[in-house]
Structures are given as structure tokens and as C-alpha cells.
């Protein structure tokens, strides 16, 4: 009972801090998510130390980001994603190649061997689309072409990052590279997305009356939430992030007749749960990195490479759009967030990373998450929508 009470206090502190942080950020004309991340960093272990990002908070954070991507999927039609498919593919591929190449060279130049350099670089690759998705949703621009390209590219980015991480880990362990195995992984992931995506959306379009057959008036919501949890788990079985499955579940649910009602009902769920995701993200920041001038210099270099390489890759990949839209796409792909933190943790566990390089990568990941929202909001507010009807 006491333990449960402690957790309630933690939840209260985190939720209230995120509330205040989000509000302050919005008053300073910044996306609320920036305030939530900073609030998390302030109450977390490396500043005030009021809360630690342990298991209960991690769980709520995970559910929060899963529901966020589900809600974003709910505002995304499969047809619209397919229409931007070529641009999304270009952004996804170049947005992986450029950061990986740039970061490998940088790490090798900083004194790492080639194999560990590639492990470091793997942490520079994967975009954490949660942060961008939240900004797009806050600004109400999920219907813009740039948003769709970003979301489609995030799916491709996740597949490539998964494969790349597999390669890097096996190189690190001294295993021989097995192209056949990688090919199977790639086909499985694409097959999973294609089968679930096409069959699911078709079933949803034809059979959305099934959602109302149960007695309970909230049954459409509960059924699609079960679908969301199920696909989130299933996508991890194919090596993909849980949020990719959740996004897919949302895309499927967006084909149902109950779409608008569902969008409406997701709002309170996001209001309760997503602040935990962003605050927990902030909590993982180790502020001590910023105390040592030499480390600070390395951090500045790493962050600059992470940002520039991703913006460039995204920009070049999206050049079928107008240049300004391509820039928005590039900036939208910048956040590494919790994905970089996870890869850094793998490197630490594998003994490849020292504590210092671990802290550096975590700080780089979170800095990219922090600088993106204001930049993206600034660009989006200045750029008129390309084709609001499409």
C-alpha cells in the first residue's frame, strides 16, 4: 500500500510539472512539448532529483507514445500516405545514409575504431517520430503534405534503422555478416506492414459496423484500443518499434465510419498519458555532461552533425516538393529522442561505449528533440500549406 502511495506521488509530481512546463512553453510561443521535456529534466535525477524514470513511469511513457502515434495514424489515410510514397522513401533512405556516414566519420576522427564508430553512428540514425508528431498535432497541420511525408518516412526510417542496428551489433560481436538473414528481416518487416496495412484498412472500410455490434456504447473505442495494443506488440515481434504498429492501427481505424468520434475520444487519453512520455524523455538527460568544457565541445559537434546530416538527407529526399516544404520535412526528421537513448544503452551494455560517450549520445539525442519543436513550429507558421486539399 505504501509503495502504491509513493507511485501516486511520483505520478502527481511528473504530471503537474509537465502541465506547468507545457503551459510556460506555450506562453513563450513554443510548442508545449518543449516545456514538458525541460520540466522532466528539471525534476529528474540530474537536477532536482524529485523523481527517477523507473519502471512505472517508463510504462506510462510507453503507453503515452503508443497512444500518440495511434491518434496521429487516426488522422492519416493510407491513400494519402501512398500518394507521398516516393518522397517518403527518399527521405527515409537518405535520412539514414547521411547521418550514418557523417557520424561514422566523426567518431572515427575522434579516435574510435571503425566497428565501434559504426555503433556510435547507429545511435545517430533513427528518428523518434513521437516528438515531431506531437508538434504537428499541436499545430493542427497533420493534413499537410509535409506531415504525411514525415510520417511515411518515419516508417521507412524505422525499418532501415532496425536492419542497421542488427548489422552493427553483429559486426561488434565479430559475427560474419549474413545478407540472407538481413534480407529475410527486411522482407518480414515489409510484409508485416503491407499485409496488416492493406488487409486492415480494407476490412475497416468494409466492416466498420462491426465496431458497433457490442452492447457497450464505448465499444468502437475499446475495440480499436485493443487493436492498437495488439499491433504495437506485434510490430515489436517483427523488429519494429511499438509506435509503428500503433500508427498502423490508427491508419486502419481512420478508415472506419467512427473516425471522427474516435479522434475526439483520443484527446483526453493523450492529455493524461503523453506528458509522461515527454517528461520521462527529459528525465534521462544527464546535465553533468554540460559541466565539462571539453565534453561540451564534443557534444556541440555531435549535435551539429546529427542535425545537419538529418536535415540534409530529408531535404534532398523530399526535393520533389517545394524547397521550403523539403526543409520542413528535413527538420521534422531531426529528433532522435528516446530511440538514441535506447541504442546508447545497448552500446553501454555491450561494453562498446564508455560512460562518457553514453552520456554524450543521450544528451545529443535529447538536444535534437529539444531544438526541433521550436524550429519546426517556426517554419510551419511561416510556410503556407502547399496543397491543403490533397
Amino acid at each position: 500500500m505504501h509503495h502504491a502511495a509513493d507511485i501516486l506521488l511520483q505520478l502527481f509530481i511528473v504530471y503537474a510539472a509537465a502541465l506547468v512546463g507545457g503551459e510556460l512553453a506555450q506562453r513563450l510561443k513554443m510548442p508545449g512539448v518543449v516545456g514538458e521535456i525541460i520540466a522532466g529534466a528539471l525534476i529528474g535525477p540530474s537536477a532536482l532529483g524529485w523523481v527517477r524514470p523507473d519502471e512505472p513511469l517508463q510504462l506510462l511513457a510507453e503507453i503515452g507514445v503508443v497512444l500518440l502515434l495511434f491518434a496521429v495514424g487516426l488522422e492519416t489515410r493510407l491513400g494519402e500516405l501512398r500518394r507521398v510514397g516516393a518522397a517518403a522513401l527518399g527521405v527515409g533512405v537518405l535520412g539514414v545514409v547521411f547521418p550514418f556516414a557523417g557520424a561514422t566519420l566523426w567518431a572515427h576522427g575522434s579516435g574510435f575504431g571503425w566497428d565501434p564508430s559504426m555503433f556510435v553512428a547507429a545511435a545517430f540514425v533513427a528518428t523518434s517520430v513521437g516528438i515531431t508528431a506531437r508538434v504537428l498535432q499541436e499545430l493542427g497541420v497533420l493534413q499537410r503534405t509535409e506531415s504525411r511525408v514525415i510520417l511515411g518516412a518515419a516508417v521507412i526510417d524505422d525499418i532501415l534503422a532496425m536492419l542497421l542496428l542488427g548489422v552493427v551489433v553483429s559486426l561488434q560481436q565479430g559475427d560474419r555478416l549474413d545478407p540472407l538473414h538481413l534480407g529475410v528481416l527486411l522482407l518480414e518487416a515489409i510484409g508485416f506492414l503491407a499485409v496488416i496495412g492493406f488487409v486492415g484498412t480494407r476490412a475497416a472500410r468494409l466492416r466498420s459496423d462491426w465496431l458497433e455490434r457490442p452492447i457497450n456504447p464505448l465499444s468502437p473505442l475499446t475495440i480499436v484500443l485493443a487493436l492498437c495494443l495488439g499491433l504495437a506488440w506485434l510490430s515489436t515481434r517483427f523488429g519494429l518499434a511499438a509506435i509503428i504498429g500503433a500508427f498502423l492501427a490508427g491508419v486502419i481505424a481512420s478508415e472506419t465510419r467512427q473516425r471522427e468520434q474516435l479522434e475526439h475520444q483520443m484527446q483526453p487519453l493523450l492529455a493524461l498519458l503523453t506528458p509522461f512520455f515527454f517528461a520521462v524523455t527529459g528525465m534521462q538527460l544527464k546535465l553533468a555532461v554540460f559541466a565539462d568544457p571539453r565534453a561540451l565541445g564534443m557534444l556541440a559537434a555531435a549535435t551539429a552533425i546529427a542535425i545537419a546530416s538529418k536535415v540534409l538527407g530529408g531535404f534532398l529526399g523530399a526535393l520533389s516538393l517545394r524547397p521550403r516544404s523539403a526543409l520542413i520535412v528535413g527538420v521534422g526528421m531531426v529528433p532522435r529522442g528516446e530511440v538514441g537513448v535506447v541504442i546508447a544503452s545497448l552500446g553501454l551494455a555491450a561494453g562498446v561505449f564508455s560512460d562518457r560517450i553514453y552520456a554524450l549520445i543521450v544528451a545529443m539525442s535529447l538536444l535534437t528533440a529539444l531544438v526541433t519543436p521550436p524550429a519546426l513550429a517556426w517554419l510551419l507558421r511561416r510556410a503556407p500549406a502547399d496543397d491543403p486539399a490533397a
Copy 2:
């Protein structure tokens, strides 16, 4: 990452099972909560063994029941609670005295010494109002006088059960009883409820425009959710259950101008989170108790005493209402649910209870939770509302 994936699978199984169980129960004209509890028992460790009620599920269960009682509070005005104060006090006091006396005598008759008998009896005392609250909400009868008496009595019941448990534990440890200390605990709890209740509702009535000052359109919801988490925690600091604080937060929020909007926004939150509470409750059932005929006989006796003593206490306490309404109140107080489970765990940890008596008390608690919803629904559907306007 793997660990997070496992948890997602657990969440999916529990949520989907509760969905199916609730739906089947409703088709059989029973409250959905019965199906959710049985679904939990079936997938839990003592039957199929698909999931275990470990920390992540316990956390969601706790948040679920906290939000449920908050939503119930949101449909309850303080003035209405005060109007039924005398009846609620009678129900609360007699609903503690009768079960405690009955269960002490029964346990002593079954061969326990007086002190352990009183510890056993303590597990028979406290009502778990979550189950009843869910039934009242499902049937849409929270505005009826009987519902208000039950909710008011649940608050009093919780105070008395807290004091009683303190007495029993200190007797068991051979400490001398300290009436002064108990008096202080009682005054603290009452003081907490009175101060927060009166000051909070008054502030809410006069200043509900404050909820809309923040920029975020969802801010009234997020602010009252923070209040809910904060008071849930604070009430545990005064020895009370978290759900009492959450209920109080709801009562405060029910005085705001945004009350209807908040009620509406709580629905998706309850749809996501309360099934975890009821399924986890069911998971704690040890079906093995039902295999041994002698244990089954003891369980039947214990459950009969638990039900009869609580119904009688509630009925006599509420006789200022019509007899049928008093019966509804008595039946509504019957569920012990997770509160009995917690006290049984304390007894097990203190070495007072054997594994068998522990399993017996857990099974008794959950049986009372299972039999109440159909009985209560049956009575409420048959009894016309006493005074729907009051």
C-alpha cells in the same frame, strides 16, 4: 526494449480479455464488471496462466480505480452528500460493527485465538466501493439517494476500517492500545476530509474560470486530473485509501462550470483504464481453494457471514429510507474486493495467517465482489427511484 514488448503483450491480453468478458456478461444481462473480473480470473495465474498481476498491471489497475472514483465524485455534489449524512454515518458505523463482530466470533469458533480472530475479522470490514461505484455508473443511477448514501458511507467505512486495522495490528504485535494516538488519527482523517472538501468545493465554485486561464484547450481536464492524482496521494498520507482522495477531487471538480465537459472527457479514460482494475482483481483469485471440499465449506461460511453482516449493518443504518432502498444500500456495501486482499496480505506477512486462511480470505473478498453486481443491478432495476429530484 524486449521487456517493453512483453508488457505490451500483457496489456493487450488483459484488455482484450476484459473486453470480451464484459461484453459476454452484458449479453447475459449482468453488469459488465462481472465479466471483467471473471476474464481476469481465467487468464490469471490460477487458471490459464497467461498473465500475472505484477507491477505494471497493478499500476494501471490503481490508476483505473482512482480515475473511476474521481469520475463518480464528478457526478456527486457535496450538498447532496451532506443531505444523506446521517444515513451514511449509520451505514458506515453499523457496516463496520456487524461484520467485525460476526467474523471475530466465526474465526474464534473455528479455533483461532481472540487476537488473530480480530485480525481475520479486519479483512471482513472494509468495503471496496470501486465495484459498487462501477455498477451504479453502468446503470446510470448515481443520482439516486441510495447511491449517495453508499458513497458517503464508503468514506466513513474507510476511516473506521483504517482505525480498526491500526488497533488489530498493534494488538497482534503485543503493543498496548493507545486511545490518544487513535483519536489523533481519527481527527486527522476527518480534518483532512473536512478541510479539503469544504475549502476545495468552495474554491471550485467561486474560481472555476481559473481552469480556463491556461492556453491549452484541454487544460480544465489536465488541471483536475493533476488534482485527482495529488489528493489520491495526499489521502494515503492520512491513512485513507487513495480512492477516497480521488473521490474528493471529483466532488470538488463537480462544483466547477466545466463539470459536464469533464464528465464527458472522463469516459474514454475510464474505458481504457478501469478494465485493468477489474481484471487484476479477478487475477488474484486462487481457484485451488475451490478444489478442497473442507476449504470450500469454510469459504461458503465465511462468504455468507461477510455478506449477511454487511447487508444487515447497511440495512439497519439506512432505515431512515424505505426498506427496499435500505436493502439496496446494504447490498451495495457488500464488496470487499482488493481491500480484503490487501489486509489478507498484511496478515500473511505478519505471520498471523496460514497460506490457507490467506487464500480463503482472498477468495471471500473476491466472491463478495462477484455476487454484488448482479444482485445490485437486479434490485435497482426493480425498485423505482425514491426521489429522483433530490
